[in-house]
Symmetry: C2
Subunit: 430 residues, 2 copies
């Protein structure tokens, strides 16, 4: 029986969940996996809040050194979040010969290359199953399950807050503000929801997934990011009438020698496997050359789902598999080639376009004329019934088009006298 001494840095929601699993279930995990998890040291700046977990003697320290300097700690679990301090914790833990487990997508997205390189130099491992999609074992699915295939495409619903908000807007007809309030009331959204609703969190996770799936080092700033603040109920309604469901997706595609990496709202056909992923659930859909289309689904956040993912990494460390992985997999070492990320103007996809125009003869012809002049062809168009005094909606779906051409066309169209509002655009993935 292998015994693993664990040090937790950060004793918030997920940290308390990890402690609870270790304290309550160490026996059954040992019986199942042959690894005995032992909680050796825990630190957090907040030492007073009751987390509902009775730590063993030694208890909770407010000093990170109580964990990092403990010679008996085999593995440091970094759960502080953020980038600056977390990076220091991970680096020091590796320096001191500890293995590392982290749930921190931000630090991996911003400093992953450097951290993995440092781990390789220290001959130690960084495991990060909890960093993307919580309980869903998507990291090991890509690394281990699909090792025999080239992954060509990733589409992920990787932020539960956004998915909850969009689900409420779709199913209940709620406004963005109402849906966000509901998410906050249920604890799915922070009081400052920016990192979630503006897409930053999803982009962090995309960077982590892309490193693993494409074995390239992604410069985080090269990922195109749009959030969900601007999606209107009317577009959700028009989309629904056309068979589409809105999702905030993290998208990664290999396109020739480039990677197409972006986070933005998308219309998905209702029959797409991701379209059925509702509420606070997460899912990652993958396309592989040999594996075809696959999807992995589960809770992306929350105490016990996150803690389950951390514990899965701890067992990896305890069995020695984490060390093997760190030495063997290109994506887990530093020195990956830098990804050439495709400019958003050069991507190709389908577009939902919602024009607000004066109800006059020739308007449809004018708009489609501009689109045609830029090489954008129209798959379907409809003048929506709903009218107002000022303008009427025209909704179009395009065939595959280059985004730069669409943007150029919209600039011309929005300058037409008959067009009364900025045209709304939602990309369609299939």
């Amino acid at each position: 029986m292998k015994k693993l001494n664990i040090g937790l840095v950060g004793f918030g929601t997920v940290g308390a969940g990890v402690a609870r699993i270790i304290l309550e279930d160490a026996d059954s995990i040992a019986a199942r996996s042959g690894v005995r998890l032992n909680l050796k040291a825990v630190c957090d700046i907040d030492t007073t809040t009751d987390r509902g977990v009775a730590l063993p003697s030694g208890g909770l320290s407010d000093r990170v050194e109580a964990v990092l300097d403990d010679p008996e700690v085999d593995v440091v679990v970094e759960l502080v979040g953020g980038t600056t301090f977390a990076k220091k914790v991970i680096t020091k833990a590796l320096d001191r010969g500890k293995q590392v487990v982290t749930a921190n997508k931000a630090v991996l997205a911003r400093h992953g290359g450097e951290l993995f390189e440092h781990a390789a130099k220290c001959e130690r491992s960084i495991s990060f199953e909890a960093s993307v999609c919580g309980v869903v074992p998507i990291i090991r699915a890509i690394r281990d399950g699909y090792v025999g295939t080239e992954i060509t495409q990733i589409m992920g619903i990787v932020n539960g807050t956004c998915n909850y908000v969009l689900t409420r807007m779709t199913e209940d007809g709620a406004s963005y503000e109402q849906a966000l309030k509901s998410a906050q009331d249920r604890g799915y959204a922070e009081s400052d929801p920016s990192l979630d609703v503006d897409g930053g969190d999803s982009a962090h996770k995309l960077a982590v997934l892309a490193r693993l799936a494409f074995a390239e080092d992604v410069e985080f700033e090269h990922i195109h990011v749009e959030g969900i603040r601007d999606i209107g109920p009317i577009d959700i309604q028009f989309g629904a009438e056309m068979g589409y469901v809105p999702k905030l997706l993290a998208i990664g595609k290999r396109v020739g020698g480039e990677l197409d990496l972006r986070v933005h709202p998308v219309f998905l056909p209702r029959q797409h496997p991701l379209a059925a992923v509702g509420g606070a659930f997460n899912a990652v859909w993958l396309r592989g050359e040999a594996s075809g289309d696959t999807m992995h689904y589960g809770r992306g956040a929350g105490q016990m789902p996150g803690a389950t993912a951390v514990v899965s990494d701890l067992v990896d460390v305890g069995l020695g598999r984490a060390a093997i992985n760190a030495g063997a997999f290109a994506a887990l070492r530093g020195g990956l080639p830098k990804a050439a990320v495709r400019n958003i103007a050069d991507i190709e996809t389908h577009y939902y376009l919602h024009f607000r125009v004066l109800d006059r003869p020739g308007v449809l012809s004018a708009i489609s004329g501009v689109l045609g002049s830029k090489g954008i062809s129209i798959a379907s168009a409809r003048q929506q019934e709903q009218s107002s005094e000022r303008d009427v909606p025209i909704v179009m779906v395009t065939h595959l088009g280059r985004e730069g051409d669409v943007t150029a066309a919209l600039k011309e169209i929005d300058a037409l006298e008959v067009v009364k509002q900025k045209t709304r655009l939602i990309r369609i993935e299939r």
Copy 2:
């Protein structure tokens, strides 16, 4: 770089796919994972059919000894299927110090306990990712991803043939015979489809999943198995009107000290994640105490999906992880406790009941009276519009009920003079 010499026993569809991946992608897999796969020996009783893969010198032997006796072969991939010969191949390979990879659910369902015990004695591993759900890495998801939680429930669509047939019946209104013919035309069903449509293949996979998820040794004959031959288009239609989708499910639940293990057609609410799994796709839905609800989805059969799963196991072997797993995980050694499988009469679930009765006053009251006398309460009932000269349909959905009580009630009901046909029953899972 670790080099792994591979011997294939069985060069059919999946075997040829494995060979193709190794021959074409060994370089990229080595770059990705640090393991160089090398195809050393291949055997099959059919040495003449062209599989579209050019084997290296040595080629294809018709003698299994050409693989088993090759001292340079590190790992034997058993792809012959069936139980008797496959068991011999696996046993001999272990005896000769080879690691084993297999896609064979039948042999694991029937002889798993014995084979894993033998592997432990030989200090070798048996890897079997390809045995359930083809490309979907469900084995490692349960073993590794959810190691920190107690799995309490499994529901799997694990047979692509049945799922294709039921999807055609649901979406196109096809009869069972038409849908099966379509499956055969597309190569999704064998000319003798019994093992698929009668549920045996799903039961094999359930036995494999249950061993892993519940760490108990399942006597295969204890699994209750029903196939899809008796599902009628009219029940699919009535179900659809009530918001249900028909699926053949492999179900495993921990219920007190027993396991509830069964394979049969089920009505699922349309919003259940498994309900959207259509055509020849497979998916396994899991419920874990800490992990909550998760689902893994992808192609369950086919050359490249199956081969991808085998290759994932080969990399496990090459990295030494398979050996670590075999030594550490209780479910991968012999000597597991025997599962106490709950008698089908003692399970509790919801029931869809379709009665064919004479259109007379008092019939509904008579039927509900019998149900009530057995403690079965009715959640909803409707007399369907559709009529015929002979009888009219009444459809009921029950609250949670014990199957033995339902069976006893139906026996009485079917004996009523006003009931004209045997009542049809479809279990409902939620």
